[in-house]
């Protein structure tokens, strides 16, 4: 049984994974800027962002209505919506789609919440297999230091408070993220992650990422995928300013 559907489209799918505070979003953003600077048409997709499902997710979170199964299913619904309406059409068009978190986030997080590994892997069987999946490996304490230093409050579900691991939000967050980290580590071989040591300097990590992208996708990035002229880029930027 294939875990995910192979990408048969012209475009390429690059995803980043890792626990909160691993620095994956920063790295993905740097990578996409670099690709754009080479006139490659890049599109971005974030986890948990479908407008169609947002109301339901918000309702469930506000009233703490989620169980492990409904939490898993509503995120899969959100993911399906983005995949069907956004990611697949963009890949067909020939774009490089950069996704900040992908199905693997569910493989790690939903299992920690209590659904079985087998069930959640089957749930995402409709997903397109990424051309490249980066995993940003970081020790728990480093990640937690970055998170706690950076923002004010950790949210209820983010801290895994629904699991009753601890009454203390910070403590709960620590245990929850630790378990997610274990799940990520255990799936490296299975899903074929490219592991990046996320304790290294930002520049070093970015160099490694770009190298892997060139090694793995170099040929298709040179031909086959969608390219943008300077005129296209200027027009898109001008349109974005008006909006």
């Amino acid at each position: 049984m294939p875990l995910l559907v192979p990408n048969r489209h012209r475009g390429k799918l690059i995803v980043v994974e890792g626990i909160d505070g691993s620095g994956k979003s920063t790295q993905l953003s740097l990578l996409s800027q670099w690709l754009r600077s080479q006139r490659i048409a890049v599109a971005f997709s974030e986890w948990n962002s479908s407008p169609l499902v947002r109301e339901t997710t918000r309702r469930g979170k506000k009233k703490n209505m989620f169980t492990p199964v409904t939490f898993s299913l509503i995120h899969a619904t959100d993911f399906a919506d983005r995949l069907e309406r956004y990611i697949v059409p963009l890949l067909k068009a020939g774009a490089v789609v950069c996704a900040d978190r992908y199905a693997y986030t569910a493989f790690a997080r939903d299992v920690v919440r209590g659904v079985s590994r087998r069930w959640v892997r089957n749930l995402y069987r409709f997903a397109v297999r990424p051309n490249l999946a980066f995993y940003f490996r970081v020790p728990l304490e480093v990640a937690i230091g970055r998170i706690l230093g950076g923002r004010n409050a950790i949210k209820f579900y983010e801290a895994g408070m629904d699991l009753g691991l601890s009454r203390n939000v910070e403590e709960s967050f620590r245990i929850f993220q630790g378990r997610i980290l274990d799940e990520y580590e255990a799936m490296i071989q299975e899903v074929g992650f490219h592991v990046i040591d996320a304790t290294g300097s930002i520049e070093d990590q970015q160099r490694q990422m770009r190298q892997i992208v060139m090694d793995e996708l170099g040929d298709s990035l040179r031909n086959g995928i969608m390219r943008a002229s300077q005129g296209d880029i200027d027009a898109a930027q001008a349109a974005a300013r008006i909006l």
Binding site: L52, E55, T56, T67, T70, R85, W119, R125, F126
Partner: protein, 230 residues
């Protein structure tokens, strides 16, 4: 086939649920659109309550978590087939865990107007993978009885004409455009649904009820069969 206690899960047990604790009865009424399910559910409820049973009736997309989101999503034309399947699965899980299981624990008779089977049939009708959706839905409880109200597409057509007098976008599967217009799409889509339900009938032990009979005849048949559960 009628099942006796205790209840069990298909293959994916839900955390925190001991099936032996579930003392109620779980009865499913399945069948395609316009086949007359809701009429029967309403009559069964009245009859069972008259017999002194506490009854919960529930149905597709009525849950507190996702019911509203599904109807809003269906108002637009934006709902893709996999997204729709999973949205319904979310609603089903919510109702199972937060309505059906608590009611069964309290000893209620739960009558559900459709269960996982319509969801599975719709997914299959839209070309999704059978094994995939069956495994997704495998956290469902095996009901005590599943009544499949069966009719042919031509019977459903008559009911649409005499009933609402118009075709419904979703009941016609117009999101997939199975045909040039609503009638053609309805005919093809409902035929696929019926085929998918027929294929499940044996494996899931449906009690097949001929839905072309009169509502009274169907009701008596259901009464007779449900009576054996107690």
């Amino acid at each position: 086939m009628l099942l006796k206690q205790p209840l069990e899960f298909y293959s994916e047990p839900l955390a925190g649920v001991e099936p032996e604790e579930l003392q109620g009865k779980l009865i499913v009424i399945e069948g395609p659109d316009s086949v007359g399910r809701s009429t029967q559910v309403a009559r069964l409820r009245a009859w069972l309550e008259h017999q002194g049973h506490a009854v919960l009736d529930t149905g597709l997309a009525r849950g507190a978590l996702a019911g509203k989101g599904i109807s809003q999503a269906k108002e637009g034309n934006l709902l893709g087939p996999v997204t729709m399947t999973l949205f319904y699965a979310t609603d089903f899980a919510d109702r199972l865990e937060n309505e059906i299981i608590p009611a069964l624990r309290a000893g209620f008779v739960v009558i559900t107007d459709r269960y996982i089977f319509s969801m599975v049939a719709r997914a299959i009708a839209r070309g999704e993978d059978r094994t995939w959706i069956e495994k997704v839905a495998s956290f469902a409880l095996v009901p005590h009885a599943i009544y499949y109200l069966r009719a042919e597409v031509r019977d459903l057509l008559t009911r649409v004409v005499l009933g609402r007098g118009a075709f419904d976008h979703w009941e016609s599967g117009m999101d997939m455009r199975f045909g040039a217009d609503m009638h053609d799409s309805f005919v093809r889509y409902q035929a696929r649904i019926i085929r998918a339900l027929d294929r499940m009938a044996k494996r899931y032990h449906f009690v097949v009820v001929d839905a072309t009979k009169t509502p009274d005849q169907i009701f008596r048949e259901l009464q007779k069969s449900i009576g054996k559960l107690f």
